[in-house]
């Protein structure tokens, strides 16, 4: 084979692979495409043409779904819990990591290993006592109750990420600030914390991914309808409308949409976050 025809055949293989990958990706997205199409069909249309494009676009499914889900309220609950939890995870995590990274004390070392060990613990191992405790302390159906669960489950890993990063920042920066009369808190908040942007982004992304679509915990802790978050409320919707697929499809699209938008907006950070976060195990 001459060199030119070798290159040509290599090019052909590449085009073939590209076509195959486009087809695979289309197949991968088909369930989502079908979900959106079905959400626009009337129940009759759906019955006779369960798969494929709608014959005429019908938005009434969305109206029913919007009202039954109490969509804006549910969306607000989810967003509020997610934002507050992540803010506090960042603060609690970064603050706890600072002395571990900076002060060489036995106590700090021990605490670091305690936090590391807690990363390994599956959430299910504390689920039952936690729910019992929540009932007794009246933390069920409260925002702060839900936020506390998320802080506790995410803080150990955030501490691990922050500790590793703070260790790479030269000490001299804070030392000069302390000489200038800053206390350790001032030095941390003014000098160190602003340098932690990249880890903070990772922590934020990782927790958006785990909190936004969380199912079991909010289902158990936020049982009142006006407290519900998106994922448990769509589950309840399916239970209620198990035979009205058209409504359930529209509700699914509504619930899925904000998550997809967050992903598309923060796509680049998602990729970085997933890589940094995958060292978890």
């Amino acid at each position: 084979m001459s060199k030119r025809s070798y290159i040509k055949s290599k090019k052909r293989v590449r085009i073939l692979i590209e076509i195959i990958m486009i087809i695979i990706t289309a197949v991968h997205l088909f369930p989502v495409f079908n979900l959106v199409c079905s959400s626009l069909k009337t129940s009759g249309d759906l019955m006779y043409h369960p798969v494929g494009l709608p014959h005429e676009i019908d938005l009434s499914n969305y109206q029913v779904a919007w009202e039954t889900l109490d969509y804006l309220r549910t969306l607000f609950n989810t967003t509020f819990i997610c934002v507050v939890s992540i803010l506090l995870i960042v603060l609690v995590g970064a603050f706890a990591a600072y002395p571990i990274a900076r002060y060489n004390l036995k106590f700090n070392k021990v605490m670091y290993y305690v936090f590391l060990a807690l990363i390994m613990i599956p959430g299910q191992a504390i689920l039952i006592p936690l729910v019992r405790m929540y009932y007794r302390l009246g933390l069920v159906n409260t925002y702060h109750g839900m936020v506390i669960v998320y802080i506790v489950s995410a803080a150990p890993f955030a501490i691990f990420l922050y500790t590793g990063f703070i260790k790479t920042i030269p000490k001299s920066l804070e030392e000069s600030a302390i000489i200038d009369g800053c206390g350790p808190f001032g030095a941390f908040i003014r000098i160190v914390f602003p340098l932690l942007k990249s880890v903070t982004t990772t922590v934020i992304i990782l927790n958006i991914m785990s909190i936004w679509n969380d199912f079991l915990m909010p289902m158990l802790i936020l049982q009142k309808k006006e407290m519900r978050t998106l994922t448990p409320s769509i589950f309840n919707f399916f239970e209620e409308f198990s035979t009205s697929w058209n409504y359930a499809f529209a509700a699914s699209v509504l619930v899925m949409l904000p998550g997809i938008l967050i992903f598309l907006l923060l796509q680049k950070h998602f990729v970085e976050g997933m890589v940094a976060g995958s060292v978890k195990s």
Partner: protein, 297 residues
Amino acid sequence: MIGKKRTFLYSLLFMAPAIILVLLINIIPIIQNFYFSFFSWDILDPNMTFVGFDNYANFFQTEGAAVALKNTIIYAILAAIFKNAAGLLFALLLNMGLKTQNVLRTCILSTTMISLVISGFTWSYLYHPQYGIGYFAEKYLGLSFLNQDWLGNPKLALYAILVVSIWQIAGKYMVIYLAGLQSVPKDLYEASDIDGAGGWTKFKSITVPLIIPSITVGVLNALIQGFKVFDEIYSMTKGGPGFATETLTTLMYSQTFTYSGKAGYGSSISGILFVIVLVSSLIVSGFLRKSEDAVYG
């Protein structure tokens, strides 16, 4: 600069919120869980009866428990294999410099932000014997083997659910492997080109050994997630038909929150799951670390 006592005080202040929260809501419940598993009690009732090791000794006597244990292990192992295989395959094919590669990566990755509950619902419809794609595959393409009651058949349901969870998460594993592939130096491939190595040889003797750290991370992630599987099963079959897709977490959930007086039994399932996750992740990470040492040694 500052004395040891002062440093300790500052450390304590910095860590106070984390220590208080983690102690109260993480460490105490872990200990409580083991303690509660020796009692017979109900989630809404403060009274408890001590029953010793009964909850553990009678583990298999509850209907569905043996199946749940078996399903959990099968599911976790298959998930670890196929999620990583799918992720690696996507990563390799979308790292070749194709023109549409960035768009395709985004598309594959986008499903990771769809909750497993919605994924489960969407796929339940596609799996439906009357409306689903199986029916159309038989009608128009003659592929009658595809027309099954995927979720209603006890032999198929668990695997049908596994497919959904692979579909949803494959993009995340692709990202893990894409990061791993970036760390493989390009000149190694060039050198092997000169030696006349084929694609498979290059993959086997250059790519795989150098991405073992990614494999470790990917396998452990998928395995642990697999042991904890709940969302997709609960939203698609709730453990049915019969107990065909029951896993430890669905069993724990139904025993604790839908039956009365079984919270102690639920705690014992949590305890068993905890031990399984810990032991298996230690074994797997030890095994993978050994192969890592063999390469980087």
